[in-house]
Symmetry: C2
Subunit: 413 residues, 2 copies
C-alpha cells in the first residue's frame, strides 16, 4: 500500500476550523487507499506568543536555549492533540506523538538541533494497526532526553526525515501556496506553477529567496531521495513534485527566477590588498555571512572589494569594518537598498556563458546594470538596485520564456 507523509504548516492549522479542514485532507488520502503519517506545526501565531513570554521574562530578552526549546515545543504538542480529536470525530483512529515519542533523536544544539536518527518503530507499529500517527514537527530529544527544536523550517525537515525513515512513497508539504512557481506571482502575474523540479534546482530556489520550502528540508530530501510534493492545504491540485532530475538536458532549461530584497552591499577601497583577508575573518567572527564578493586589484597595488551581506547584518558589518580599518587609510561605502535576482535551472550547467549573456542583455535592454554577478553550477545571480528588482524579474521571466511551457515541466492545472 502507498504510504504518504502529510505535513501541514502553521497557517494550515491556525484554528479549530482549519484543523477540521486538515482532518478532511487526511480522510481523503485514507479514502484513496493510502496509509498516512501526519506532521504538523504549531498553530499560526502560537510560536510568536510563546517567544513574547520568553523575551518578557528573560535576561536581556535572551532566553536560555534549553528552556526556550521546552517552551516552544508545546506549540506543536497542542496541534497534534487537537488534530487527533478532529480525526476521531471523523471515525479515524489517530494517536499523537511528540518528537520524543516519534523517536526523533537530535544533537544537543538547542533552538537549531540537527536530526541524528529517527527510530521509526513506534510509528510503523501504528500504521500496521491501521491507525494514523500525528507527529509534532520541529522537535526532538537529544541523547540525554532534553527537548530540542530544529529551528526555522524545522517541521518540513521533520516530515522529510520521517518519510525517509519509513521509506514513504511521498512526502507532501501542504502549505498556503499551490506549488513551486517559476517566480513570485505577486511580481510576475504570468508566473507558472512547475509540475516537477529537481532537488538541486529547488535548493537554489530556496537558497535565493523562494520561501516555499526551507533549504534544510530540501537537502535532507535530496540526500535520502525522498520525493517531496508541495501543494495547497486549501485548494485541490497536484502541486509541484520535487524529485531527482531526469539526467539528460538538451535545451538551456531554466526553471525559475528567484529574487530577494534581503540584501545590502558594502564596498571597501584600500591602498593595498593585504588587509582584505583579515577583514573577511573579522566579519565571519561575528557570524556575518558574506554572499557575492568581487575584488579588483589596480596596477598601483590598491584594491577594492564589493560584497553583499544580509540586510539585517548591514549596520553591524559597517561597524566591524570601521573598527577593523580604524588605523588604515581605507574607504568604506555601502548601500542597504540593493536586491539579488537569480536565474536558476539545470540547463545552466552546460551553457553558462550563453545564459549569462542573455541575462545581462535582457537587463541592459531595461536599462538595468548588474552591479555584481555570481554563478553556481545551475544558477546565475546579479545584484541590482532594489527599485529595479521587480522589473528585472519580469524581464528575465520573459527572456527565458517561463510564461510558456517549460519542456515537460509545466503544470497541467
Amino acid at each position: 500500500m502507498t504510504l504518504v507523509v502529510q505535513k501541514f504548516g502553521g497557517t494550515s492549522v491556525g484554528g479549530t476550523d482549519r484543523i477540521d479542514a486538515v482532518a478532511e485532507r487526511v480522510v481523503a488520502a485514507r479514502d484513496a487507499g493510502r496509509e498516512v503519517v501526519v506532521v504538523v506545526s504549531a498553530m499560526a501565531g502560537e510560536t510568536d506568543r510563546l517567544l513574547g513570554l520568553a523575551r518578557a521574562i528573560s535576561t536581556h530578552g535572551r532566553p536560555n536555549p534549553r528552556e526556550l526549546d521546552v517552551l516552544l515545543a508545546t506549540g506543536e504538542q497542542v496541534t497534534i492533540a487537537l488534530l487527533c480529536m478532529a480525526l476521531e470525530k471523523r471515525g479515524i483512529t489517530a494517536r499523537s506523538f511528540t518528537g520524543r515519542q516519534a523517536g526523533i533523536v537530535t544533537d544537543s544544539g538547542h533552538t537549531r538541533a540537527r536530526i541524528l536518527e529517527i527510530r521509526g518503530e513506534a510509528l510503523l507499529e501504528e500504521i500496521r494497526h491501521g491507525r494514523v500517527p500525528v507527529v509534532a514537527g520541529f522537535q526532538g530529544v537529544d541523547a540525554a532526553g532534553n527537548i530540542t527544536t530544529l529551528g526555522r523550517g524545522g517541521s518540513d525537515t521533520t516530515a522529510v526525515a520521517i518519510a525517509a525513515a519509513l521509506r514513504a512513497d511521498e512526502c507532501q508539504i501542504h502549505t498556503d501556496v499551490s506549488g513551486v512557481y517559476t517566480t513570485d506571482p505577486r511580481i510576475e502575474p504570468n508566473a507558472r506553477r512547475l509540475e516537477r523540479i529537481s532537488y538541486e534546482e529547488m535548493l537554489e530556489l530556496a537558497g535565493q529567496g523562494s520561501k516555499v520550502l526551507q533549504v534544510r528540508s530540501v537537502e535532507f530530501a535530496s540526500r535520502y531521495k525522498v520525493p517531496v510534493r508541495v501543494l495547497s492545504t486549501f485548494e485541490s491540485g497536484a502541486g509541484t513534485l520535487i524529485a531527482e532530475g531526469n539526467g539528460t538536458v538538451e535545451a538551456p532549461e531554466i526553471v525559475g527566477i528567484a529574487s530577494s530584497r534581503d540584501e545590502a552591499e558594502l564596498r571597501v577601497s584600500a591602498p593595498s590588498a593585504e588587509l582584505l583577508p583579515g577583514m573577511i575573518g573579522a566579519l565571519a567572527g561575528s557570524r556575518i555571512e558574506i554572499d557575492l564578493i568581487v575584488q579588483n586589484l589596480a596596477v598601483d597595488g590598491s584594491a577594492n572589494v564589493t560584497f553583499t551581506v544580509s540586510r539585517q547584518d548591514y549596520d553591524q558589518a559597517r561597524e566591524i569594518l570601521a573598527h577593523f580599518f580604524r588605523a588604515s587609510d581605507v574607504r568604506i561605502e555601502g548601500d542597504s537598498r540593493v536586491a539579488k535576482v537569480s536565474v536558476i535551472g539545470n540547463g545552466i550547467r552546460a551553457q553558462r556563458a550563453d545564459v549569462a549573456a542573455r541575462m545581462l542583455g535582457a537587463l541592459a535592454r531595461e536599462g538595468i546594470v548588474a552591479r555584481q554577478i555570481a554563478t553556481s553550477q545551475i544558477r546565475i545571480s546579479v545584484v541590482v538596485r532594489e527599485t529595479e528588482m521587480e522589473r528585472a524579474v519580469r524581464a528575465l521571466h520573459h527572456e527565458f520564456g517561463l510564461q510558456h511551457a517549460v519542456t515537460g515541466r509545466e503544470a497541467n492545472a
Copy 2:
C-alpha cells in the same frame, strides 16, 4: 542541608510578573541555605483555554482522554520553561523537567492517572550539582510512555509525591491564602489561621469543602509522612503545617468548621425496603456518589431513605431514580438547596456524643434544624438549608471557641 519542595499553583504563576515573584521566593529559600525543588501548575486560565479548544473540535465536545492529556500537559510545560528563565535572570541555574523527565510514572488512567512511582535520580542529580529542578506538576507518563495527567489538584499530589521520593524535609504548597483556617474567613471574620493540623484532620477538612488542598495530596502526604506546609505566595508568614498528630488528646479539641454548598438532598419513600439497595446500585452505576444517607423503616414495612448527592449530579440522579422506580409506588422528593456543615477535630474521637450534643444545641439556639447527621472518627456533619449555612458556621465556630487560641495550634502571625 535542608531540602524543600516548593509548589506554586496557577494563580501564583498567572503571568510573567507573578512568575518573577515566584522566582524571588525560590531565591529567598536558597539564600536561607535550603536546597529547593520547584513544582508548578499551568498559568491561571491556560487549562481552560486548552479545554475550550478541545471541546470545540471533539465529538460531542468530549475529547479523547489520551489526546486531552497530551494537550493539557503543555500548560505546565510552558510554566516550567518560563520559571527557569526567570531564575536564570537571578543568577540561579535551574533546569526544567516535564513529568516524564522527572521520572513520574503513573498508571494509564488518562485525565485521572495515579502515580505509581517516582524515579527521582535525575532530580537528585540536579540538586547534587547545586541546580534547581523545576518540575511540571499534574503530569506523568505511563509504562508505555503515554503522557498522562493526574486530574484535579494533581500538582499538589506531584509536589507531595516528589517530596516523599526525595525524602524532602518539607513540602510547601504556595497558594493564594496564607494557610489553613478554622473556617472560611469570608463567612466568619473571626476565623483564625491554624499553626498546625494533623493529616487526618486535614483530610476531613479537604473532604468536607475546604479548598486549600485536594484530598488526594493529603492522603499521599499522610501515607508517606511528608510534612506539608500551606502558605501564601504573595505574603510572608509561616502558614499552616500539616503533619502527624501529637498523639495524646485531653481536651475535646476541634480544629475547624467546614462547609459546602455543593449539596443536594433526595428523599425516597417506598412501600417496602426491598427496592432500595438496587436504587443505590443504579446511582453508583452512573458514577453518582452518595454522601450522607439515613434510612427509616416503619412498622408497616414501608421505608424512606434520605441521602445527599453532589449538586451537579442532582438532576441526573432524579432521572435515574424516576426510571428505576417507574413501575413502583414510590415517591421521590428532593431539594437542591441544602448545604453541609461539619465540625472537625481529633478531639471528637474520644467525646463524640458530647461534641454532637454541643453542636446540635448551638444550632437549635439559632433555630436551625439538622436535617441529617453523620459522623466519622473525627468529624460530625449535618445537613441544613442552604440559607442557614453561614449562620450555622458562625454559631459552631463560636460554640467551640475557635476564635480563641486552639491549644498549641493557634498561629503566631
